[in-house]
Structure formats: structure tokens, C-alpha cells
Symmetry: C2
Subunit: 151 residues, 2 copies
Amino acid sequence: MARKPALDPLLLGNQICFAVYSTAHAFNRVYKPLLDKLGLTYPQYLVMMVLWERDGVPVKDIGEKLFLDSGTLTPLLKRMEAANLIKRTRSTQDERQVLIALTPQGHALKEKARAVPEGILASSTCSVGELLAMKNELVALRDKLNAALGE
Amino acid sequence: MARKPALDPLLLGNQICFAVYSTAHAFNRVYKPLLDKLGLTYPQYLVMMVLWERDGVPVKDIGEKLFLDSGTLTPLLKRMEAANLIKRTRSTQDERQVLIALTPQGHALKEKARAVPEGILASSTCSVGELLAMKNELVALRDKLNAALGE
DNA sequence: CGCGATTTAATTGTATGCAATTGATTAGGA
DNA sequence: TCCTAATCAATTGCATACAATTAAATCGCG
């Protein structure tokens, strides 16, 4: 007897990974008009959040927080430098490192960015509590997946 | 008095979108070694799942199921055709459409792919029930986000 | 029937992402 | 100290993604 179709693990609709993948894209589309007003892409917005929290950090630290490597970050940061949002300076303590610091414009952008999370919350039609619960579940799953990679 | 830091909506760790984004990347890394054995990338694997479920569909249908447009799909499908997994044929009924059909190799790949979901499940260290619950929550969120875009 | 609006893929340009390699710098052990 | 290993950013090559435009085909209204 055949497996129940609803449980077929090769059906698109049954895969959590596709649910995550397609939700990420949906978020991207919702963020787009909000971030366009700030002149940022979503990954650039992530970098700005790291820097608003702690300024003057090496590329590696940003990469660890965002799970991105230098192959992605180097060109992205160069574009942000060209947009006058950040400044890239090779560290004098350790010349292997490049430190990323906000410009005054980059720092000032935080005020305009405060409207972004509100817009996202409104589009989600969810309560803060629901979103927080899902966020915690996702982070737990992500950490388990990343742990499985290190074995 | 300042807002409690733990509730600051501009902190990376408080954002569900970053949780989704970073979980999607974690999934990608876990899928990579499994899909390498099949000679597929993750988006190509998604296309194969659509075709294993229903063969001979136009590009537009694939795009609607995967939330991808022709700008992404056209070159991706050309690479899959070059790899002898699919065949692209302009429809005789409606010459605007290009129909995507599996080759025998593409059809046969489904058997090798059955091992993939098991590997993912193992890496997640979660029960099927937990994953199913999260999947349903994510799909509901995704659909709400997409609905908000159409307004 | 005729013709403008719509639909469908393809194309162009920009921005991620990641694997693999490179080059410069620093760390650490014999 | 010297020399090898490790670290860090940059680079190269390939594969998504998406906005905007284009071109061909079809639809649908008058």
C-alpha cells in the first residue's frame, strides 16, 4: 500500500525547509518598500543593525553574527562605504583585520529605521507574542542545524 | 526611561525575520552535501519536487508554486536542461508558454532523492511532529505576509 | 473582424551567497 | 629566534533572486 500522500516527504507542501525558504522571500518582499526609503537592501540593513548595536567591529564579527563570510561581506561593505554609511579601516593593532565603523550618516539612519519594525509587524497580522514564540522556535532549530554541521 | 533592551525592535536577536533568514541559510548548508550527490542545487531540487508531483507544466506554474519569476527560472531551467534533467518545449496550444518535462534521468533521480528528507530530519534533531507544527505556523505567516503585499 | 490590453518567457542589470583560493599578517611551538 | 600553522580579508567563479524592460502570442471588447 502506498504511503499516505499527505505524509510523502518529497512533497513540496510537506517540507519545513520550503516553508522557511518561502517565508524568507515573503519577508524580503515586505521589507523592500520600507528599506528602499532608507536606501538599504535587507542584508545591508542587517549589517546596520549589528553596527547600531556595537560600532567599530571587524568584518569577521559581523560575519559571525549574520552567518555570512567575507566573500559576501567584502563587496557588500564596499557598496555601503560608497553610499557613505560606513568607513572601512584596516586595524593598526592587527593588520589582518578591517574595522567597520558608522559614518555620521550611518548613525543618523537609525532614527529613520525605527519605523521599519512597526511596518513589518503590521504586515504580519500577528501578535508580538506569536512572533516571539516562532522566533524562539526557529532560532532553536537553526542552532541545531548548525550544530549538526560541525560533526 | 529607556525601553527594555530585550524588547528593542531594532536588535538583531529580537527579529523574527532574521531568525527566518538565518534558518534558511542553515538549511541550505545542511542540504548542500546531500544535494551534491544528486548534482542539484536547492532551488533546482525544488523544481524537481514540483515536477515529480506533476510533469509537463509551464514555467509560470512552477513560478507560482515556488514564488519565483522567469528572471530566476529561465536560466535555472536552462542549466537543468543542459544537465539532461528536464526538457523545455514551447507549447503548441499556446506558444507563449514553455512546458517543462522530466527526462528519464530526471524521473529516475527521484529514487536517489528519497534519502534527502531523512538526512534533513536527522540533522534537525527534532521530531516530525515539532517540524510539522512549525511548518504550519510558517506557512500561515508567509501567506499573511503575501496577502499584505496585495493591498 | 480588428486592435489595444494582457499574458508569458526571455533578457538586462544589480545584489546577494558560497566554495575555493590567494596574500598578508600574526601566533605558537621547537 | 625561526619557521610553520592559523587567521583574516579579498578575490574569482558560479548560481540564485528580483526589478524593469522587451518581444511574441493570445484575449477580449467594440
